[in-house]
Amino acid sequence: MADKTELQYTAEHEWVLVDGDTALVGITAYAADKLGDVVFVELPAVGSSVAAGTVVGEIESTKSVGELFAPVNGTVVETNDAVVDSPELVNSDPFGAGWLLKVSFTELPTLLSYSEYSALVGE
């Protein structure tokens, strides 16, 4: 599991772990908890181009549907097959084994820090 304080965040309750020119993306524990048990995850195809702020996938729980937004402009270089097969990983380990996709980017937009995101969700 990544150190939550080292991650960057979006207002759409996603976390971003930047490593060079790639961004590893998942949803936060707060978002996973609000969704309830995740039962279906749809992720973009590897190689597809994504634009920051656009919908690139879906996360469904028994009760609701969440949209997955790309946090950066770039190209999808990897998606988490394990979470497609076992969507419950989003609930059990949202900052680790429940990661969703990896995107290569050229420019990183301004994201939220841990303290800014914590303030957003009131924790």
């Binding site: 759409e12 996603e14 969704l35 469904e60 969440g66």
Partner: protein, 396 residues
Amino acid sequence: MTPDTAAHPASDSLPNDASSNTAQASSERFSPLHQAHVDAGASFTDFAGWQMPVRYSSDLAEHHAVRTKAGIFDLSHMAEITVSGPDAGAYLDYALAGKLSTIDLLQAKYSLILNDAGGIIDDIVVYRTNAEDYLVVANAGNRVPAFEALSARAARFDVTVTDQSDDVALIAVQGPVSRAILEATAGLTVDGELAELKYYRALGGTFQDSDVLVARTGYTGEDGFELYIDVPAAAALWDALRAAGEPFGLVPAGLASRDTLRLEAGMPLYGHELSVTGYPAQAGLGRVVNLAKETDFIGRAASEEGPPADAPVLVGLVAAGKRAGRADYPVFRSADAPVAEGVITSGALSPTLGHPIAMAYVAPGLARLGTDVFVDVRGTRIPATVTQLPFYKRQK
């Protein structure tokens, strides 16, 4: 990630957006068991103005517990209305769609409060608690319209109609080991044998010093009981049931699991499958409207006429895969039909069955069992098949 609030727009649906748990509406109400839920780590949701547990840990675990062992639900938000007096039976025969004057002492009956146009004001369960006393249990969201309708209809009868909702708590224990849990509950005594209590029958009893009504009823498709008790004793009863249930695998269960359980069991939910503009016959509840009753009742004339021939009818839908059609998603007759001919009222990936299930109102031409239709799941038409309700039936 943004939870899609459009997936469940109905006012009494279970909420899904991140804001609902933090919004503090000034009108919100709390169950007498609220502190027990907080202590158990519940997440809360607004339901008809009440802050009620939506889940304690996992919707799916709570759902499976009810199917395989047992779950305990707080339903104290529901409305309890008493009807008492020499005319109680005759009055209910006039006020409701069913015939209540002839039910046995401690028998329960599912019924409907109709309006003059034959629309459904509420669906209810009625218990006969004494020769001249009945208990009407209405949906939380319909407390006011149900009580107002029942009060207005009492004018020419010698009855007293009283809204007791604030004084009565309701706890449900549902699942195959429910009876063993009640029998093991310290301080709970019933006036009879739970083993011999039939479905939709009740027994009086006591818990500590309080009267309790124990009914073999529920909303999950499993064996189970609902216990009515005065508010001051409710928290102690909840604790006693949980303590007795622990060795049996009893878990507290929230409204999210209650919704998937009732959907699998094909049970309608007011605000989804039932509404004031819908006829009982459209929802498959024609049998609940007793047209053989000798006396007049509100909604009788309209019910005899029935809905128009082209009125949509409620059906069950099943699909393959994992993407569930949800409330308000449109239903089409083909993959490219331009106009929707139906709409889903409740839908989910069935936790027990593992595939998507839904209830939907469709045009009569699409209602035959086995009809192939398409559900628009956020822009993608997914094939589904009309199937018999319920989706799930327990082994007896």
